[in-house]
């Protein structure tokens, strides 16, 4: 597996660049360096959701169980990165604004709404019994998410005009220097690689689970010694009687 190695290298490079190469921000000082984690993490979580939706679409097209699993894992990773975004963002907010949360920042609120939406994905999945019906619903919901993202984005932009006055003006990243850009891009690459690695690991784990179940089935009994169905043991193909 070259991916984990690559991820490690990219991460090392990103950390080195962020702490030793990127210039210290004039306004915010050292705490500004969290920018190089926070923003790539946020962008990565959008990528996760997008990937999950793509796999959902694949599932609906092909009805391939693997696509369902991939979609689930991608959304799961998206929620993990989303939580990290909230945490890093909150820390930054605390450091630079003195509050943990601000309703006046449209990106924050947008992100919260989408985060809630994707948390509900798990509620949906857990409350429906495993099977084709659940796969269908999860896929439709994951697809809905990518449609909702731009719509919510637009809505939040609109709301800015009538909700709280803008208290803090955000520093647009347009005036970043070359060094900043480099650190940022390397960090983004590291995060995306991290996503790819975690995605593969979780997927492999889930697949091993599935294989184990199949094996157990073939053996006709449960290895964990759980309750056994009277009818379950290695069902032979039903007999065909003469007509």
């Amino acid at each position: 597996m070259k991916l984990p190695a690559l991820t490690t290298v990219a991460f090392g490079a990103a950390v080195a660049l962020i702490f030793f190469y990127a210039p210290t921000d004039a306004d915010q000082g050292f705490s500004q360096r969290i920018f190089y984690f926070h923003v790539p993490i946020a962008l990565t979580s959008y990528v996760c959701f997008g990937w999950g939706a793509w796999k959902a679409l694949r599932y609906l097209r092909t009805r391939d169980e693997r696509a369902d699993l991939e979609s689930y894992v991608a959304v799961h990773q998206g929620v993990v990165f989303g939580a990290l975004t909230l945490v890093t963002g909150s820390i930054w907010a605390r450091a630079s604004w003195g509050v943990w949360w601000s309703w006046s920042e449209n990106q924050l609120v947008l992100f919260l709404v989408l985060f809630l939406f994707y948390c509900a994905y798990f509620m949906l999945r857990y409350s429906v019994d495993a099977g084709p019906a659940r796969m269908n619903m999860s896929a439709v919901y994951a697809l809905f998410g990518v449609v909702l993202i731009p719509v919510s984005f637009l809505a939040i932009r609109l709301s800015q005009r009538f909700i709280h006055p803008v208290v803090f003006d955000s520093h647009a990243p347009s005036n970043m220097t070359g060094a900043q850009w480099l650190s940022f891009l390397v960090s983004l690459a590291a995060m995306l690689l991290l996503f790819a690695t975690l995605y593969n690991v979780e997927l492999a784990g889930k697949r091993i689970d599935a294989h184990l179940r199949e094996l157990r089935e073939l053996l006709g009994r449960r290895l964990d010694g759980g309750p056994q169905r009277a009818q379950a043991p290695a069902l032979p193909a039903p007999e065909r009687g003469p007509s």
Binding site: R63, A120, M123, L124, V128, G131, F144, V151, A155, L158
Partner: protein, 206 residues
């Protein structure tokens, strides 16, 4: 056209079911009226129109949610999806018909709520009414799709708000701000989405 005929037949069935069960409308009305009562007592005279309008919008979303919770109960209790999806009618017709029925009930609740609201808060103008009407469309379009999903789950009454509320936030934003064009956009996008994906929600096999 057969499609419209199907939708008509199904919507007629949905309305009949609701009217016979006599549950949905009363509980929606109860909620709207108690919400208005609450607002009446909570808000001092001369509250800004904006605050009053905000309350109206939250009441609307939650009233709709209450109606949506019950939308597919009859289908599930009697396993009617099994029977319906075997018919040649397009599956999206089931969604459209249910949306129409929920819309009818929502409209009925609003016919009571809006004048009452206007009387209490004089915060009602044509634009708000238009926004409410447009928002209703989006609410039932999305809500019916999610309602069919939630009804398959175990914690169904609780699941629907979770699925629905984050998706409804743009409606509230557009409604409170009075951005009619945005509501139209929302309605169009999600009506098409729900229309196209509903079949996967009700049918397990292709």
């Amino acid at each position: 056209m057969t499609y419209i005929g199907d939708v008509g037949a199904l919507a007629r069935k949905d309305l009949l079911l609701e009217l016979r069960a006599k549950e949905t409308l009363p509980s929606m009305l109860l909620f709207v009226i108690s919400a208005l009562t609450i607002f009446h007592f909570a808000l001092p005279a001369g509250t800004s129109d904006v605050a009053a309008r905000g309350l109206l919008w939250s009441a609307l979303v939650f009233t709709a949610l209450l109606g949506l919770t019950r939308a597919f109960v009859a289908e599930r209790e009697q396993g009617m999806f099994d029977a319906l999806i075997l018919t040649p009618c397009d599956r999206s017709a089931i969604w459209l018909a249910k949306s129409i029925a929920v819309l009818a009930f929502l409209a009925a609740a609003e016919v009571v709520a809006l004048p009452a609201f206007a009387a209490f808060f004089h915060g009602l103008n044509g634009r708000t009414v238009a926004a409410v009407a447009l928002a209703d469309l989006g609410i039932v379009a999305v809500g019916t799709l999610f309602g069919a999903m939630a009804v398959a789950g175990r914690a169904r009454e609780l699941l629907l708000p979770l699925l629905f509320l984050p998706a409804a936030i743009p409606i509230v934003v557009g409604g409170v701000g009075g951005y009619l064009w945005f509501l139209v956009l929302y309605d169009a996008i999600f009506a098409v989405f729900a229309w196209g994906t509903f079949e996967y929600v009700v049918a397990e096999a292709a």
